[in-house]
């Protein structure tokens, strides 16, 4: 056992002295967590962004005034919208195409008139294809406004239509009553109310820095274990294996020691990422220490197993060096380390369940978002351990057959 451990620790020591490993396995994830954390911050906060929007008011009449003065300048919106008044469509296109405005709202001349006369009417919104989220928000605001206008008109039209056939009712009387009716319906509340409820228990939303600490922390485990698997080949190439064979260390010990080395390197890396993100980035990894430890161990085991399997399939050191990081990135993405899996199309969501990343990230997020207890992340741990078992079983038997 001592021999096994000393081989494993030797690998850990070698890694800590390796500049490339230092950058790739430690600096890289920490830098990525930092940048992803600040870039995605506005998406998380309740007041996401300020939208630069232009207005062309050729209508300059009753209804366009309501949109500009009462809607765009309302308490809710005035801090979010940065309004610019423009004069022509050409100007609007120029401002959008140069990326200065996210959208321009155009009220054509005669808009209010058409609404009042009961004709078809529309408000034009031009959007910037590079700012599709922001221009989408503007479209929605104007959408709500037009439907509100349409509501009033529809009600008045319906009443007039219903009353018209009765000869006992004087049409002039109806015309006279319309302004009064408009007042009556002005403040009518919707009678069909959509009431959104969330079908899960108290999930708190975590800041992007926390999310990416998990996503990147898990993704970089595979970078670390792959780098470890590379050393199996490296020792063969440098003939240090053959040299070890002259010592009283059995093949089996050597083998177990190497795999344990992979495990230690990844565990150590995770520990450092955990400490750094907790202390410097103020990431909150949840309140269950046992859950955290269990998940960390089972994730590291699953990835060590994967890399052992990978080493048993790979033909050369170069192959691991080249394919390894590519696989780690693809797994990282598919497992939800870069974008939350709920943004995936359903086939991708399904595929993602075959990566250890998905289960590890799900588990860690449970700890952070729901303050889950140890037993609540057991399902994730069990899947990860099962994956680890499978990978090790196939991987070691293949490696043994090949011989060290």
């Amino acid at each position: 056992m001592r021999k096994v451990l000393s081989i494993a620790f030797k690998d850990l020591k070698l890694r800590t002295r390796d500049f490339y490993a230092f950058i790739m396995l430690l600096v890289m994830p920490l830098v990525l967590i930092f940048f992803l954390g600040i870039i995605f911050k506005p998406m998380w906060t309740s007041k996401p962004f300020i939208i630069d929007v232009g207005i062309i008011d050729k209508d300059n009449d009753e209804i366009s005034k309501i949109l500009i003065n009462d809607v765009f300048s309302s308490e809710n919106l005035k801090d979010m919208l940065n309004l610019t008044y423009l004069n022509s469509d050409e100007e609007a296109k120029e401002e959008i195409n140069s990326g200065k405005l996210a959208a321009v709202v155009i009220l054509r001349s005669g808009f209010s008139d058409a609404v009042i006369k009961g004709e078809n009417a529309s408000i034009v919104v031009l959007g910037d294809p590079e700012q599709s989220i922001k221009s989408g928000v503007i479209k929605n605001i104007v959408d709500y406004f037009t439907i509100e206008v349409l509501r009033r008109r529809t009600i008045i039209e319906t009443v007039s239509d219903i009353l018209a056939p009765y000869s006992s009712i004087n049409p002039q009387e109806i015309q006279r009553l319309i302004p009064q009716w408009l007042k009556e319906i002005e403040d009518k509340e919707d009678i069909v109310i959509v009431n959104p409820t969330t079908a899960s228990k108290n999930i708190k939303s975590i800041p992007p820095m926390d999310y990416y600490a998990v996503g990147m922390g898990v993704m970089y485990l595979l970078f670390a274990t792959n780098a470890g698997a590379e050393t199996i080949f490296e020792e063969r190439r440098l003939k240090t294996y053959d040299r070890l064979k002259t010592t009283p260390v059995s093949d089996k010990n050597l083998f177990v020691g190497k795999i344990l080395g992979i495990f230690f390197v990844a565990l150590f890396q995770f520990l450092l990422i955990f400490l750094f993100t907790t202390l410097v980035y103020r990431v909150n990894w949840g309140s269950s220490i046992t859950g955290l430890i269990a998940l960390a161990f089972s994730s590291v085991l699953a990835f060590s197993g994967f890399s052992t399997l990978f080493a048993s399939i790979a033909k050369s050191e170069q192959q691991i060096g080249n394919l390894g990081p590519a696989l780690a990135m693809i797994f990282g993405f598919l497992g939800g380390g870069m974008w939350p899996v709920f943004t995936f199309p359903s086939w991708m969501n399904l595929v993602s369940r075959f990566t250890p990343n998905r289960w590890a990230i799900d588990g860690f997020l449970k700890l952070m978002e729901q303050n889950a207890k140890f037993y609540e992340v057991l399902p994730q741990c069990i899947v990860l351990l099962a994956m680890a078992g499978l990978f090790f079983l196939v991987g070691t038997s293949r490696l043994r057959k090949r011989g060290t």
């Binding site: 500049f19 031009l126 069909v192 079908a199 709920f342």
Partner: protein, 402 residues
């Protein structure tokens, strides 16, 4: 001398093409990555229907009306559920995006002008913004129709007396009249246009339109940086210095290496563009000369930066590590990964210091906005500026040995 320069450049290309790892990182990985991330972030299209479910408890006819309006929406697909519990469970398992529960007395309430709550069950685990907006619009439509009917009934009563039997007939007739202002589309509406090359298709800088140029730019930078790392190895092994013993001048060696990097970038870029055009259907072809200007100037810029990186690092391991770190991080900041609009304002300003920003921004103008060459001259100019400065610096600082 020109022949020697080309010989060295050819050597760079041959060495790279023999390296299987290079093949993975220059071609295969970019293709996989572009397709994966592009298909994740593609706007919802017709083929990709959003599954939702309805549990309709309404005893009257208007719960069915709600369902009928929903079925008219082309972006959604209605899945059957057996009970409300089943619906909630399917939402939690993200089998369906959202579930809708229509209450028992829905129609009765509409007729009596009493507000009804339609429960929308959603999950923290799925982004339901789009579908929520859609459902709210349908609710609003029914709400307006019912309000109009109730108001009509109320007003007709002030003129003549209506029998109970006639009331429901009038109510239903009013509902139909009111609803006609939503058919075939709302008579007052928003006419939304994206100022993109094809307004009818509303192409956005999302999905493949972003991932194709974005990741081409990122992986070309990475590819040249890796080639720079290989040169560091030559320097360490002394083969670079050995070249000096041959009748080849320093300048010829330096320019030969750089030409090699540049050609490598061009070939890689071209392959990724062809893949984007023909496999992913990205509109790369609207201005071939414009695309060429950006591709050439960006390739020159990364050649300069890659050589500069090779000058500053000591070992090829260091070069490799920095190659990945720098190209990934600057690409994220520069807008290769996601539309830059989502980043905070100051990060958008920082982006302008990366060559990727100018390349992606320029390519976007050509691909999505459909502009001509004149629009990207500024991007071309800035990339050429980066290229000239970095190339001159790397020539001045070039080292043949450690």
């Amino acid at each position: 001398m020109v022949r020697k320069i080309f010989a060295i450049a050819k050597n760079v290309l041959i060495n790279t093409s023999r390296d299987k790892g290079a093949l993975i990182w220059l071609i295969i990985m970019p293709i996989v990555w572009t397709a994966l991330i592009g298909s994740m972030s593609s706007p919802k299209s017709g083929e990709n229907l959003i599954p939702i479910s309805i549990m309709n408890y309404d005893k009257g006819a208007y719960g069915d009306k709600f369902e009928e309006f929903l079925k008219e929406e082309k972006d959604i697909q209605i899945m059957k559920v057996s009970s409300e519990d089943d619906l909630v469970k399917k939402v939690m398992d993200t089998e369906i995006f959202v579930g809708l529960v229509i209450p028992e007395n829905f129609a009765e309430n509409l007729i009596n002008d009493i507000p009804s709550q339609v429960k929308l069950v959603k999950s923290e685990k799925s982004s339901s913004y789009f579908i929520e907006e859609l459902l709210k619009k349908i609710a609003k439509r029914i709400s307006i129709d019912a309000q109009a009917s109730n108001f009509s009934l109320e007003k007709i009563g002030t003129f003549i007396s209506v029998t109970e039997g006639a009331k429901s007939e009038i109510w239903e007739r009013a509902f139909k009249i009111a609803d006609s202002s939503f058919e075939p589309e709302p008579s007052i509406k928003v006419d939304f246009k994206m100022l993109s090359v094809d307004e009818s298709k509303q192409s956005l800088v999302m999905g493949m339109n972003l991932s194709s140029p974005g990741f081409a730019v990122m992986f070309v930078m990475m590819g040249v940086f890796f080639a720079g790392a290989a040169m560091v190895n030559e320097r360490r092994l002394g083969t670079l210095a050995r070249l000096l013993t041959t009748p080849t001048g320093k300048f010829a060696i330096i320019s030969g290496e750089m030409l090699g990097f540049f050609l490598l970038a061009l070939v890689q870029f071209l392959i990724l563009i062809l893949f984007g055009q023909f496999a992913l259907g990205v509109n790369w072809g609207s201005s071939p000369i414009g695309v060429m200007l950006i591709v050439v100037s960006f390739s020159l810029a990364v050649t300069g930066l890659g050589t500069l990186l090779a000058v500053f690092v000591k070992t090829s391991a260091q070069a490799g590590a920095f190659a990945v770190l720098i190209s990934m991080v600057t690409s994220m900041i520069g807008g290769s990964w996601w539309p830059i609009e989502i980043a905070p304002k100051f990060m958008q300003s920082v982006a302008k210091f990366t060559p990727q920003y100018w390349a992606v921004n320029g390519l976007t103008k050509l691909i999505t906005r459909g502009f001509g060459i004149s629009s990207i001259l500024i991007n071309f100019g800035i990339l050429m500026g980066i290229a000239i400065i970095s190339l001159m610096l790397s020539v001045a600082l070039f080292k043949f040995g450690d």
